[in-house]
């Protein structure tokens, strides 16, 4: 376990050698995607230069190596989540694909009119549209847990989060817009009490918090490689074996069958039955390298530093007039995202002007249109933190906002 400063960490990330408008980048768009440490890039290169082959059913050395690396990566992902077995880990192309898999393979054949899927008002489209689709296809209905003034799940909604009709609770662990950390453990307990299953969208929690599927006791959980310093095109679905084993695969093709005849086929066991086609071996291997990298740090120290930096940012931004912050006021109740609006200036104009200062933030609805509607805004600006950010990045953000004010304060 090591705990280097953000400056030392930046040295691990080749992209920060590049200059933008003559300056290094203050990259504050980590909730969209994280930058990649050298170790991850090297894992990709090493795979393609030394071990590249298709997996399974190949007898030759390269193919054995590729298969082993792939299955080791599955084991690595299982350890990352404290899953009871690698067999609970399905590799997908990302969180979105993982959630769609559960929607189509678990929910679609099982739900029916009268059944209820419970969501929150802060879900990302990727943990919302698949359930709308299931609701349309099965006649089940959606119900939303509302938020309080600080963008947390409102206490009175938490209390009646689930009902006897609830079959599934689909909830984000951390909001990609507000940064709010949701009390997932408690919600899972409530769901379990009425016999409902739970799926946790961990796309935004895995980069910031320890995620332990056995402690959470959720039935499914999904995250994306590219948001935990790993490559694009790979993600993970965790599922309890009792569910995965009972689910029919949603996509079919090579690599997931025992026996195929002209009129039918028998699937392999989980997790392989859900991985039709040539897997993204290089992606899985580089994801494992990313998890090694991330867990090479002292997690508690990292989290402590992130909370401190969030506090610093909330303070620095909070002192600006005309700037409105969203999300919990307590930095310890949030992870990553720091959303705000600037009075009279559209978020895209804010982001554009900041970009001119080499400060990368995102402006938009952040794939959370229902949340925007709830907040009564068309869009927000969002700064979001990664391992390598420090107070200097926040200072540059604040200076950039000064510039925004300068440009728009002409009248």
């Amino acid at each position: 376990m090591s705990f280097p400063s953000p400056e030392t960490i930046r040295a691990d990330f080749p992209i920060f050698r590049r200059e933008f408008h003559g300056r290094p980048l203050a990259y504050l768009d980590n909730a969209a995607t994280t930058q990649k440490p050298r170790a991850v890039i090297e894992a990709l290169v090493d795979f393609y230069e030394h071990h590249n082959a298709n997996t399974h059913s190949g007898v030759h050395t390269l193919s054995e190596e590729a298969t082993e690396l792939y299955e080791e990566a599955r084991g690595r992902a299982a350890r990352f989540l404290n899953a009871p077995s690698p067999r609970c880990i399905v590799f997908t192309s990302g969180t979105t694909a993982a959630i769609n898999l559960v929607a189509q393979s678990w929910a679609r054949p099982r739900l029916q009119p009268g059944d209820e899927i419970v969501l929150t008002a802060m879900e990302h489209h990727s943990n919302l549209l698949p359930w709308q689709q299931v609701a349309r296809e099965t006649g089940a209905s959606l119900r939303y847990l509302e938020l309080d003034g600080e963008g947390r799940l409102a206490t009175e909604h938490m209390e009646k989060a689930v009902t006897e009709a609830t079959r599934l609770l689909a909830v984000t662990h951390v909001s990609n817009v507000l940064g709010t950390i949701n009390p997932v453990e408690r919600l899972v307990r409530q769901a379990r009490a009425v016999g409902a299953l739970t799926i946790v969208d961990a796309a935004q929690s895995t980069p910031h918090l320890p995620v332990d599927v056995q402690a959470l006791d959720c039935d499914f959980l999904a995250f994306s490689g590219h948001k935990v310093y790993g490559p694009m095109g790979i993600g993970v679905l965790y599922g309890k074996s009792e569910h995965l084993d009972a689910m029919e695969p949603h996509a079919s093709g090579g690599g997931m069958v025992l026996r195929v005849e002209r009129d039918g086929a028998d699937w392999m066991e989980a997790p392989w039955r859900f991985e039709a086609g040539t897997p993204n071996v290089a992606g899985a291997v580089a994801l494992a390298a990313a998890l090694d990298y991330l867990q090479g740090f002292d997690g508690e120290a990292l989290r402590g530093q992130e909370i401190a930096l969030t506090g610093y940012a909330l303070e620095r931004l909070g002192e600006r007039s005309g700037l409105r912050l969203y999300g919990p006021s307590d930095p310890a109740q949030r992870a990553g995202a720091i959303p705000f609006s600037v009075e009279g200036v559209h978020p895209h104009d804010v982001a554009e002007i900041l970009d001119g200062q080499s400060v990368a933030v995102r402006g938009g609805h952040h794939c959370c249109q229902p949340l925007m509607a709830h907040l009564g805004v068309p869009a927000l600006v969002r700064a979001s933190l990664g391992l390598y950010n420090d107070t200097n990045d926040i200072d540059r953000l604040a200076e950039g906002l000064e510039r925004v004010a300068g440009i728009f304060r002409h009248d």
């Binding site: 978020p347 002007i353 001119g356 200062q357 402006g363 609805h365 068309p378 869009a379 440009i407 728009f408």
Partner: protein, 144 residues
């Protein structure tokens, strides 16, 4: 350092964004259209009254960024009084120009030159086209 953003947010753009021309919705429009930019959520409502083939009055309401607002305002000035089909052709020429084709800007659109800085900002180009897009689709309203 900040040249980029500065060129984009020139005084004329900011002025149009702050005080958009033809921003009032028309009371008895002959044509109407709506355009949205899915990537940023910008929304625009356009109404027209016609003198035969020609655009008599135009009203545009934009919920969007300064660029989209200024672009709509500049556009509204440029198309007033000319034939709708001609205005739509100008819109296509403007889009081609903004997308970097080697076409020059039609003389009628001289007033839109301040928007040329947006060419360097690919993700914002659509902001300059939103009003033209609505114009291209402005459908006749059937009297009820």
């Amino acid at each position: 350092m900040t040249e980029d953003a500065d060129t984009l947010y020139r005084e004329v753009i900011l002025e149009h964004a702050r005080h958009p021309r033809n921003a009032a919705p028309l009371e008895h429009p002959h044509r109407r259209a709506r355009a949205v930019n899915p990537l940023c959520g910008d929304e625009l409502e356009l109404t027209l009254t016609m003198d035969g083939e020609a655009i008599r009055e135009i009203g545009i309401q934009v919920r969007g960024c300064a660029i989209a607002q200024a672009a709509a305002s500049l556009m509204s000035k440029a198309v007033k009084g000319i034939a709708l089909s001609e205005a739509q052709a100008l819109g296509r020429a403007f889009a081609d120009h903004m997308h970097g084709d080697e076409t020059s800007l039609p003389a009628e659109l001289d007033g839109l030159r301040p928007l040329e800085a947006v060419k360097q900002h690919r993700s914002r180009i659509n902001c300059t086209l939103l009003a033209w897009q609505a114009l291209g689709e402005a459908a006749p309203l059937v009297e009820k």
